[in-house]
């Protein structure tokens, strides 16, 4: 029989102990990295929703002929009156460029009122008079408060589904300085504003991320 050498008992015990430590450390690292990755995704989602909404509000405010803060049942709504002539210059489906209705004396442009674009919290119907936690964008051609039929469904939810597109946004505060034609809005998003973060019968995730963006925008087309 050829001479073979196996582990001694001491070697086996030492190797087992080391393996337990290594495997334990790896499992710990895996758990830590997985948790941190989930929280990073959570933080990114919160920041993205707040930034995307702030960007859209800033775009509407800057192109408006007038901005108003309208008190609502849940919070103050932002109402932007967009010029009557808005053109999609690059044919991408977005209205990009406002054009004056006429040029007055001293070369001042005159912008007639067009769409009234509203941003407000309401319930799932979108009726402005009803309190709720769903963020809506509504478009009307007059100054009346928006009804359920004015709410833009494609903006409120992700395409092809009913999942809320702004589910992490918790607060929208609006104020308007008519002297200087400045609209100030604050958007706050929170990672805990999401049902799936609270497991049924379990403890909610206590590590949360909030992101607040405040912007002040001058509306340009006020003449």
């Amino acid at each position: 029989m050829t001479r073979t050498k196996a582990f001694t008992l001491v070697e086996t015990l030492l190797a087992s102990t080391l393996s337990v430590f290594v495997v334990g450390a790896l499992v710990g690292v895996y758990g830590f990295v997985t948790t941190r990755t989930m929280h990073t995704f959570s933080r990114t989602s919160v920041e993205l929703q707040a930034q995307m909404l702030a960007r859209e509000l800033a775009l509407h405010c800057s192109e408006a002929t007038k901005c108003e803060a309208v008190p609502g049942p849940t919070s103050t709504a932002l109402k932007c009156t967009i010029p009557a002539i808005v053109i999609d210059v690059n044919n991408d489906g977005e209205l990009d460029e406002c054009r004056p209705n006429k040029i007055r004396a001293l070369s001042y442009e005159q912008y007639d009122p067009g769409q009234r674009v509203w941003f407000y919290f309401s319930d799932a119907t979108g009726d402005f008079s009803r309190p709720g936690t769903v963020l809506h964008k509504a478009i009307r051609m007059d100054d009346a408060a928006p009804t359920a039929s004015d709410s833009v469904a494609q903006w409120r939810t992700y395409p092809g589904g009913s999942l809320g597109r702004w589910s992490l946004v918790t607060t929208l505060q609006v104020s308007v300085d008519t002297t200087w034609k400045l609209a100030t809005f604050t958007v706050k998003a929170s990672s805990l504003n999401r049902a799936e973060r609270v497991p049924a019968g379990g403890t909610p995730d206590t590590e949360k991320y909030d992101h607040t963006i405040t912007r002040t925008v001058a509306w340009r087309n006020s003449r």
């Binding site: 690292v29 800033a58 100030t184 604050t186 405040t214």
Partner: protein
């Protein structure tokens, strides 16, 4: 039975230790990368806040230009203690508002500087430059920041 064990040997202790060291090094690098990603995420958040501050400063100058009261000068704003402390210095425009609703962390500081200067050879064209810088908590050396620059006519149409 005889052939099955011929020429085979087990793992030595030295090999096992070397493998352990390699595994520990890999785990340490993963931990480091995760920590770094977290810090960069914080910087990204500050960058977006800084950009919003700079844009707001430009917008207030635009409001002043629209009313025909834009004038040359430099304004400094410092925001600290999670946005609860705002100190200002320099020349303010009548349309200026102090920043509010800024959540930047208790230990962070943001500095905003807006410079407005008349373009040479013109009487009503102003260059408006807004710069925001902040501390970065040792992730990189030195402060980071954003800068926006634009031209405005006073009064603008």
């Amino acid at each position: 039975m005889k052939n099955r064990h011929k020429g085979r040997r087990g793992t030595t202790l030295a090999e096992l230790l070397i493998a352990t060291v390699f595994t520990a090094a890999a785990a340490a690098s993963i931990l480091g990368a995760t920590t770094f990603a977290g810090k960069r995420s914080q910087i990204s958040q500050k960058r977006s806040i800084g950009f919003a501050l700079a844009m707001d400063s430009i917008e207030m100058a635009r409001a002043a230009a629209k009313a025909g009261v834009l004038s040359a000068g430099t304004r400094h704003v410092t925001i600290s203690r999670n946005g609860s402390t705002v100190t200002t210095a320099g020349t303010a425009l009548p349309s200026d508002r102090n920043p509010s609703g800024i959540s930047i962390g208790a230990e962070a500081q943001l500095h905003l500087t807006r410079e407005i200067s008349l373009e040479p050879g013109t009487t009503d064209l102003y260059r408006v430059k807004a710069s925001v810088s902040w501390n970065t908590f040792g992730v990189t050396t030195g402060p980071e920041g954003v800068q926006i620059e634009t031209l405005m006519r006073n009064p603008c149409d």
